[in-house]
Each structure stands twice: as C-alpha cells, then as structure tokens.
Symmetry: C2
Subunit: 225 residues, 2 copies
Amino acid sequence: MPQALVVLSGGQDSTTCLYWAIARFGKEQVTTLTFDYGQRHRVELDCARRVADFAGVSNTVLPIDTFAALGGNALTESAVAVKQTVDAQTQLPNTFVPGRNLIFLTFAAAFAYPRNIRDLVGGMAQTDYSGYPDCREDTLQALQQALRLGLEFPVTLHTPLMFKSKRETVEMARDLGALEALAYTHTCYNGQRPPCGRCPACVLRAKGFAEAGLADPLLTSTAAG
Amino acid sequence: MPQALVVLSGGQDSTTCLYWAIARFGKEQVTTLTFDYGQRHRVELDCARRVADFAGVSNTVLPIDTFAALGGNALTESAVAVKQTVDAQTQLPNTFVPGRNLIFLTFAAAFAYPRNIRDLVGGMAQTDYSGYPDCREDTLQALQQALRLGLEFPVTLHTPLMFKSKRETVEMARDLGALEALAYTHTCYNGQRPPCGRCPACVLRAKGFAEAGLADPLLTSTAAG
C-alpha cells in the first residue's frame, strides 16, 4: 500500500508536486488521485493520466458531479465565458468554485483513510496566484485540523509550493527532474493545446519559465500536443 | 434571500433543527439543502421534501456521486449489509462514510456563499450517537474555521443538538412545535416504513421518545407511512 497520495490535476503545479512526493517518499510509495468534476477542458484528465503514466505511478479518477449542480462558474459551465477580470464584489476570478480545494482535499482524505495513506500532497500556493482563499496556508492548516479530528486519522497535508513563486516552482521542477513530465501537463484556461499563450494561466506559466531562464517543454517537446 | 440554510436529511434530528432555525430566524429566512449521495434508502429524499413542504420552506437537492465511487460502506452499497457491530479496527459502525459531514457542510457553504447565506444549521450531535468523529464539536469548530478562511466568508455552523441526549432532542422538538413534522421523517437503517424497530437507529429513536414520555408521531400519526 502506498504511503502518499498526490492530488493530480494534470497541471504544472501538481505534476511538480508529484515529483516532489516521489523524491520524498519513493515511487513505490506514491499514488495519485484526479477529480472529474465536470471541468470544461476534459484534456486535463488525459494530462493527469499521461503524467502519472510517464512518472510510473498509479492514477485513480474520482467523479464529483456536485460542482456542476452548484453551477455558475466558468470552469464547469460551457455557456460562461472565462473573463480575464475579477468579480467586482468578491475580487475573485470567475473561475472560482467556492471551496473547491477544501472539497478536493476532503475527498482525498476520505480516499486515503481506508488505505491508511497518511500523507496528502497538493499543488496549492498562496504566492503568484489568483487569490483563491482556499489555497492559502492558514486555510489548509485549519482544514488539516478538521480532517484529523473528523476522521480520527493523523493525515498531513503537504503543500510544497505554498510559498514559491512561479519561477521557484519551475526551478524546483528542474531540480526534481520533472521538466520532461511538464510536456504532458495542461495549463491553458481556454483548453488549447498548444496553449493559447494569452489567457492568465498561460501568461503566468510563461513568466515562470522566462524568469527561470528555461524553455517550457510544453512548447518545445515532441511529447506535447 | 434567506439568511439560514438547514442541511436536511429527512431524519428526526435535522427536522428538529429546521424548526429550531425557523424559531430563531423566521420561516421566511430559512431554506433547506438535501444531498442525494446515492443513499440506499431513497425514501430519505422523499422525507426531506415532505418535511420541508410541511414546514413551508424550500428544499434544494444537490447530487454527490463521489461517495458511491469511493465505495465500501453500507449506506451507499446495497451489497454491503448493515452490521450492528462496529469495525474491529476503527471502532466505527460500517455505515460510516469517512468525512461525510465535512463534505456535506463544505458543499452547503459553497451553496450558501453566492446567496450570501451566513448561517448553516446541521443536526450533528456528539452525545448518544455512534461515535462519528465528524459530528463532534471540535471537528466542526475546525471546519468552521477552514470554511471562513477558505471562502473568505463569515459563515457560522449552528449545531443546536450538539450536546443533547436523544431525550432532550425529543423534548426540544416538542417545545418547538416540531413533533407533528416528525411523522414525515425517516430513521430506520433498514429503510422500512413503518420502521423495523430493531436496528440501532430505530432503537435509539424509540429510547428518546420513551424517556421523554412522548409517543413517536412516526408510529402513531396518519401522516406517517
């Protein structure tokens, strides 16, 4: 039975975290969990599977139909266009699913519990991001406490990217030997492969690679696309 | 827009909490949320709707398909018989869905957030129960903190039954004028109406009414069944 569970979205950050977990716990001790929550870009699920295959770890997909039923956000409703602006009232981008990371991590803990997996790993970071409050350190500390009490299980939430800039995350991927795997990842908010290069997610990713002085394998590798 | 959201399972406790919320916030300020998580006893969903109708408040059903995918427990898998014993390893009854109440309340908060509903009400209690750790006060305090931080929203989790015995809960229902509504509720682990009278849930419910010296309207009212 593995010891660590990585919540793998198929993106750059969770892929980097997967390699962090492999370096820390050993490949045989790592498994991955991906959520199919009705994301508009189904390519994310393919990316997660391809990343896990490339890294040589297993991948389980769990469905969550509740977000689509809650409705009203751009990541699950195709009729809602992705705006590059923030909501005037909440100051959050309209890709925000309230509490999404709380749900992901709680389901991850529920998956981990019967398997006696005590180390959960996620790509949340409170730097350089869109201001999602459920990615912040204090939120995740409170959630870890709720999970430990609510499951009576000594789960630890690891967020190795929490205080890293995008540049530092790229450098970490390089140091962990994860760059090649990043060719299989997906970032673009518009769901395009090759990426659109213009949406906030593409711009942020490009900035990180540029500042680290590295080429993005998603743009250069023959494995991408 | 309502001010308070009651998580309504269709059972005795959440129905009592609905009447608590109506007394505290006023009927016009209360709405209810029920989760369709693949429970084996679909009658619970009908009970929730009938309770809400009887009380004169609205009821929304949100689907959660993830518990069934997580698998392995008696409430969602018809092949798993309800045991009256506890799991030897965890000391929890095998009706336990790990973190179920954490998920319910987090989805309730995600539902409440865009509606600016700041008061969530649930029937969790740490007395007289089966030892579910996600029903305990300390767990829910930690969860409230995680929700407040993760949503940047001043949500309050109300659990008016937290420290009440079943007897006290029945007396509270009487004092709130909720007894008649309890005829529409569902408790039996075996999904029977009229209830089986033998499963742990039926036994616990009967004990509460007996100790309060009241008849259970589920057994006596013509509205039941």
